[in-house]
Structure formats: structure tokens, C-alpha cells
């Protein structure tokens, strides 16, 4: 198989599976019971992460984390998907942590570097909004504080 097929294209992240496809994967995941295979778990988890629903993404990340714990030989791959999953969930700290770990192991990996870049961009954008929100909270807090203090003085 071609090398570029080894990991998914990053565009792929935002293209969810159809409901039927996800249903097939979940069926397989459930049918294999307690002894569900690594591939089946991954398939379902990846399908879930690609989904637009937050609940799905959450579950997907959880399954992936379990795969990571259970099969050391797949850890490196799992890290990449965990990074994507965390990114989609908005847990950028985790996403960055996983990405950094990947780059630490394989500094020249273009996919990881690209993902890292995307996360950084997102962080920068959120940071601006974040500062605004925090500023707002501090302002309100200060106002309330002032009100309380002035009440006490009386």
C-alpha cells in the first residue's frame, strides 16, 4: 500500500462516516463481546472520532485510550489518533501533549508536525477569546467585590 495511506489525511478528520457505516462498526464492536479485537476497537473508535457528536468523540477517545493501554505495539499509532480525538473534543492540552510525544519519537514525521501546527493555530485563536472571557470575568468579579466591600463599609 502507498505510504500516504499509512495514516489518514488530516482533511479526513472532519468528514464523518454515514450513520450506516458507523452502525456497522458499532455492531461489530458489540458482537465481539469481551474479546473484541484491537482492529475492531480501533475501527469503531476512529469512526466515532470522525463523528460530529461530542458524545461519540468522547467514547471514541475512551476506546482508543483503552487500546493504547492494552497493546503496546499499537501505542505510537494510537497517540496520533488520541491527539486528533482530543483536538476535536477541544482538549488542546492533551492533544498537544500527545503530539509532542509523537514528535519526540519521530521528529521528522510530517503528519504529526502538521497536526501540531493545526493545534497551535487553534490554541492561538482560542487564547484571544480566552483572554477576553477571563478579562470579562475579572471585571465582573471586581465589580461584585467592590459592591460587597462598599456594603460592608456601611
Amino acid at each position: 500500500m502507498k505510504k500516504e495511506d499509512y495514516l489518514p489525511n488530516l482533511v479526513d478528520i472532519e468528514s464523518p462516516l454515514s450513520d450506516e457505516e458507523l452502525y456497522v462498526l458499532s455492531q461489530q464492536y458489540n458482537n465481539e463481546g469481551d474479546f473484541v479485537s484491537v482492529q475492531t476497537r480501533f475501527n469503531y473508535a476512529w469512526g466515532l472520532i470522525k463523528s460530529r457528536k461530542v458524545e461519540d468523540q468522547q467514547l471514541g477517545v475512551q476506546i482508543l485510550a483503552q487500546v493504547y493501554k492494552d497493546t503496546p505495539s499499537r501505542r505510537r499509532e494510537c497517540l496520533y489518533y488520541l491527539a486528533i480525538g482530543s483536538y476535536k473534543l477541544g482538549e488542546y492540552t492533551d492533544a498537544r501533549k500527545y503530539c509532542d510525544l509523537l514528535l519526540q519519537i519521530e521528529p521528522d514525521d510530517p503528519q504529526s508536525a502538521k497536526l501540531r501546527q493545526i493545534i497551535e493555530d487553534k490554541l492561538a485563536k482560542e487564547g484571544m477569546i480566552g483572554i477576553a472571557i477571563v478579562g470579562g470575568v475579572i471585571a465582573v468579579g471586581a465589580a461584585v467585590l467592590g459592591a460587597v466591600l462598599s456594603q460592608k463599609k456601611r
Binding site: 500500500m1 499509512y6 468522547q58 493504547y68 497517540l79 482538549e91 480566552g130 477571563v134
Partner: protein
């Protein structure tokens, strides 16, 4: 799914605390004054949008940091993603391939079409390759799991074994205390009787001379050896460990005798076994440890048949005597024999004038068959012969058509005249050298029914509530329906049957070959176990006994093998 509901609950909780008035404000204030919280807000490691979500879900950390250390390099042939691609239904992958050039199909040249076709075929080939690798991977995974489960099974198996060992010890302790209590009770009665006697006036004493005699008689009889009253059915626990062995696996092997094993029996799985051999030995074994308990002395010739039941051992010997032993005494006090020869003997039954070939007892009745061509019935309470049944006489009276000559000579000079007996209440079944199985009524001493079919001497026999199983030198095992008196099932092996034992689930028999033949009654399947499996040079099996999947077999070389079946 529960995680998701949990998550939504947590979100709702945080939201409500933020909204609901004063209390939450003071709560927030307190939080803000904490350095940790300040650090959290002002460090840019966590963004506000994260704060909302993360405070709830990240409490249960998915991957603790220590898990993030050991990351081996990737040696898998295909990535998980490739596996994912290969698993997805064909059409979605195929449609992706056509994307982009779908509009130009018409303008393609023949060459381009061929190239396209080749591309799609090689893509499919790739997919197949991935799928193959996936399946192979799964096999490896399953193998690893099976190995893991096997090792877990071994651990649990050992646990069952040790628990059962503990049970066994406690149980025997309880039984010992029971016996002691009984003893004390008896002694107390004696003391009361004596006390009564001593407090009487001389006049009364004279009147009571007769009474005195009866009392002394009582005391005497109490000190006499009686059948042990203890009953195995009092046991609370039953050994079940044998069920967890693979059928056909050896549990233990004991080098019991220096010559062929003639007969053996045991009480319960992993309990006590008694074996006898052509070397004249009569030995008691602890099956759970494989240790010799003691060597029983008393018979002057080899023991030909024996039975163990409820702590009573009965042995029939070529010296024409039958001995009944207190097996309980043997086990609890294995050294007592050195003090006196008869330490364990309850009865010696010596009315037969020929070699004993078969015995069986149930409750207080023992029946024995001898080379003197008679069957005797004994009362085990008194040790007296209750009646003698003459097979030839019974045969001529009952069935004049059937030649007595055949009975006198037998089909086979090698087989004992009375090959097997079994009794229950008033019923007695005998198998004899003429190949006929007779069912007797012990109350009348008459033959009630004859079962004809075997064409050579009957060597072994056993019945339960419904069926009677017989093995014969004609190489066949026959199962008879006791109520109808007809054949229920029959099968034949390659050589004469020498012994047989059955329960609800299987019939085990030996036929002078080096394996024990098992017939699984439920599955109607024949199989065999023993040293002969895998070793064609192994000596033959001579006798077999089985209970609840636990099988003990004696070999021609004096070795006793314990197997799971």
C-alpha cells in the same frame, strides 16, 4: 453510554452552581483566592473553553502520564488506519477512487481505461492483502488470549486443589470428633449402669443376678468389634477437582505392586484406595497424596476381589476366606496392625471350601461366589452365613432345558465359575462361566430371571436402578434393561472383558489391552485412555473402577493409574 450521562450530569452541576446566586459567588471567591486556581487561570496551559469542558471530564484521566512512557517502535505490517480502510464496505472506497475523473469517462481512451482497471485491481489486491494480515493478526491475538486464559485456569485450578485439600482435612477432623463424642456417650451409659448396680441393696442384688449377666453380656458385646457406623454420606463436601482435568489426562500414578494388580476399589475421588496384587499384597492408599497408608495382613493367598463402601472393606481371597475390615481404623491408626494381627478385622468368613472369586456387600448383607460353585449370603452384623445358593441345583430345578454339563465345565476353564455378584436388598445378580446372568430373590433363594446372550463366561457385572451391565469373555459388554429383561445396548471390543464399572455417564471397562475403554453413554461415543495411548508397549490394564469422572485402573505390571474421564 453511562460515561456520557455522567458527563452531562457533571456539566449540568457545574452550570447550576455558577448560576445560583450568593452561595456560588462566595464559592467562586474562595476558589479565586486559592493559589492553585490562580495558577490555572493565569497560566495559558488551559484555555477558558477547555476550562468549561475539562473540569468535568478530565477528572478521570484517560491516560496517566506513566502510561505515556513505554512506546515501542511500530513493527506492524499494516497500520490500524489501513485496517480501518479495508474494513469499510467496498463501495465507499471504490467511489473515492472514481472521484474527480467520473465526468471524463466518456473521453477516455482504451489504454487509459486499461490503466484505470489495472489500478483499481491492484488497489483491491492491496485491500485483500491488508484483510489477510488483519485476520492473521487476529489469530495471533486469540492465541495470546488462549495462552493467558490457560495460565489463569492453572492458577484457579491450583486454588480449587488447595481448597479441596483444606476441606478434606477439616472434614476428617469433624468425623474424628464425632467418633470421640460417640465414644464418650457410650462410656457415660456404662457408668450410669454401673452406678445403678452399686447403689442397690443386697436383696435387690440377688434378684438381679440375671440382670447382671445381661449387663455383662452387653458390655462384652459393646467391646466387640462392630461395623463402623460412620457414614460417608455424612460428608458435607464432595471432591470435584477431577472434573477440571482434561478427560484422559493422568492425575497420578502409583507403583502399587510388584506383580499384576488383581483388584482395587476406592471410596471417593482423592479418598482412600485399596489394591491387591498377584504379589499377595493388600494395600491401602491415600489417593490425594499417593502415599501408602498400610499393608493389610491376614490373607494367606492373593486377594481376588474386594469392595470398599462406607469405611468397610471386604476382601475375598484364594485362601477361601473373606475378611471384613474396618477401613476407618486403618486410616486413622495405620500402625495398630503391629500390635496385633486382627486390629482392623471385623469378621473372617470362612465357610467356603474353594477360592473366592466374587464378593459384593450392601448395607449388612454380603454375598460371595466361590470356586466351590456356591454363592453364600452373610449377615455382616453377626458374621454368620445366612444361606447358601447352589447354582447347579438352582439351574437344574429351574431350567432343565439348559445343559448342566456346560455349567460344570464352563465355556472357558480360565474363567472363574462365578465371575461376578452384586446384591441390593433382596435382589442378587450373578454372572457365571456359562455366560448366563441370573437374578435371584434372596428371600426365597430362587432364580427369578435368567438373562441369556453372552456366549462365554461372564467376568464382571454391575447394576443400578434401571440397567444391568455385564462384561464377558466373549468380548462384549451388554447393558440389560432390568425391568424388561431385554438388551438395552451392547457393544464389543477386540478381546475378552476383564472388568467393568459404570455410572450414569460412562461405562469403563478393561479387556486385557493396555488402554481402558470408555463408553460415553450420553454422547454414545467410544474412546479410551491409559498408558497405552501413545505408548503401544505399555502393559495391559487389568481392573478399573470409576466414580464421578475419576478413574482408577490397575495394570499388569502392578502400577495403579489415576485418570480423569
Amino acid at each position: 453510554m453511562s460515561d456520557v450521562t455522567h458527563f452531562s450530569k457533571v456539566v449540568a452541576a457545574t452550570a447550576s452552581t455558577l448560576v445560583s446566586g450568593d452561595l456560588s459567588q462566595s464559592h467562586v471567591m474562595r476558589d479565586i483566592s486559592r493559589p492553585a486556581f490562580q495558577k490555572r487561570i493565569f497560566s495559558f496551559s488551559k484555555r477558558p473553553s477547555e476550562l468549561v469542558r475539562i473540569t468535568s471530564s478530565s477528572k478521570d484521566v484517560l491516560l496517566p502520564d506513566e502510561m505515556l512512557v513505554d512506546i515501542p517502535s511500530n513493527e506492524n505490517q499494516f497500520s490500524l488506519f489501513q485496517g480501518f480502510q479495508a474494513t469499510l464496505p467496498e463501495h465507499s472506497v471504490g467511489s473515492q477512487l472514481l472521484l474527480g475523473d467520473g465526468s471524463k469517462v466518456g473521453e477516455k481512451s482504451a489504454r487509459e481505461q486499461l490503466v484505470e482497471g489495472k489500478k483499481s485491481l491492484s488497489h483491491k489486491l492491496d485491500l485483500l492483502e491488508v484483510r489477510k494480515a488483519l485476520a492473521a493478526n487476529e489469530i495471533t491475538e486469540i492465541d495470546a488470549r488462549v495462552a493467558h486464559l490457560q495460565s489463569m485456569r492453572q492458577i484457579v485450578f491450583d486454588r480449587v486443589a488447595s481448597l479441596e485439600q483444606q476441606e478434606f482435612q477439616l472434614e476428617s477432623e469433624v468425623l474424628r470428633i464425632d467418633a470421640e463424642l460417640e465414644q464418650m456417650e457410650e462410656e457415660k451409659e456404662e457408668v450410669i449402669q454401673r452406678h445403678d448396680y452399686e447403689t442397690r441393696t443386697p436383696e435387690e442384688l440377688e434378684d438381679d443376678v440375671v440382670d447382671l449377666k445381661s449387663v455383662s453380656e452387653k458390655l462384652q458385646s459393646a467391646s466387640q468389634k462392630t461395623l463402623p457406623r460412620r457414614n460417608l454420606s455424612r460428608r458435607k463436601t464432595q471432591p470435584t477437582l477431577q472434573q477440571y482435568y482434561e478427560p484422559g489426562n493422568k492425575i497420578r500414578q502409583i507403583k502399587a505392586h510388584s506383580d499384576s494388580v488383581t483388584c482395587l476399589d476406592f471410596d471417593i475421588p482423592f479418598g482412600t484406595m485399596v489394591s491387591a496384587g498377584m504379589d499377595l499384597g493388600l494395600k491401602v492408599w491415600d489417593l490425594s497424596r499417593g502415599d501408602l497408608v498400610t499393608d493389610l495382613k491376614g490373607h494367606n493367598a492373593s486377594v481376588t476381589c474386594l469392595q470398599v463402601d462406607n469405611n468397610v472393606l471386604a476382601t475375598g481371597s484364594a485362601d477361601a476366606t473373606i475378611r471384613v475390615w474396618n477401613l476407618d481404623q486403618v486410616v486413622s491408626n495405620p500402625d495398630a496392625q503391629d500390635e496385633g494381627d486382627d486390629a482392623y478385622t471385623i469378621h473372617v468368613l470362612d465357610s467356603h471350601v474353594g477360592e473366592i472369586s466374587a464378593i459384593h456387600f450392601s448395607d449388612h448383607t454380603l454375598v460371595s461366589g466361590s470356586a466351590d460353585k456356591t454363592i453364600r449370603q452373610w449377615d455382616l452384623n453377626t458374621g454368620r452365613c445366612v444361606q447358601t445358593l447352589d447354582v447347579i441345583w438352582a439351574n437344574s430345578a429351574q431350567n432343565a432345558l439348559y445343559s448342566n454339563d456346560r455349567l460344570r465345565t464352563g465355556f472357558d476353564a480360565n474363567a472363574p465359575f462365578i465371575g461376578a455378584v452384586q446384591c441390593r436388598d433382596a435382589a442378587l445378580a450373578t454372572g457365571t462361566a456359562d455366560g448366563i446372568v441370573r437374578l435371584w430373590d434372596l428371600r426365597s433363594g430362587q432364580v427369578q430371571r435368567t438373562l441369556q446372550g453372552h456366549t462365554a463366561a461372564v467376568t464382571c457385572l454391575q447394576f443400578d436402578d434401571v440397567h444391568l451391565a455385564t462384561g464377558s469373555r466373549d468380548r462384549s459388554v451388554r447393558i440389560w434393561d432390568l425391568r424388561m429383561g431385554n438388551i438395552f445396548d451392547a457393544f464389543a471390543y477386540d478381546s475378552p472383558i476383564t472388568s467393568l464399572d459404570f455410572d450414569n455417564r460412562r461405562i469403563a471397562s478393561t479387556n486385557g489391552e493396555n488402554t481402558v475403554k470408555i463408553y460415553d453413554r450420553a454422547a454414545e461415543k467410544h474412546w479410551s485412555l491409559g498408558r497405552g495411548e501413545g505408548d503401544p508397549e505399555a502393559p495391559e490394564s487389568t481392573v478399573v473402577k470409576t466414580k464421578e469422572g475419576y478413574l482408577v485402573e490397575g495394570g499388569g505390571d502392578g502400577v495403579v493409574g489415576v485418570w480423569a474421564c
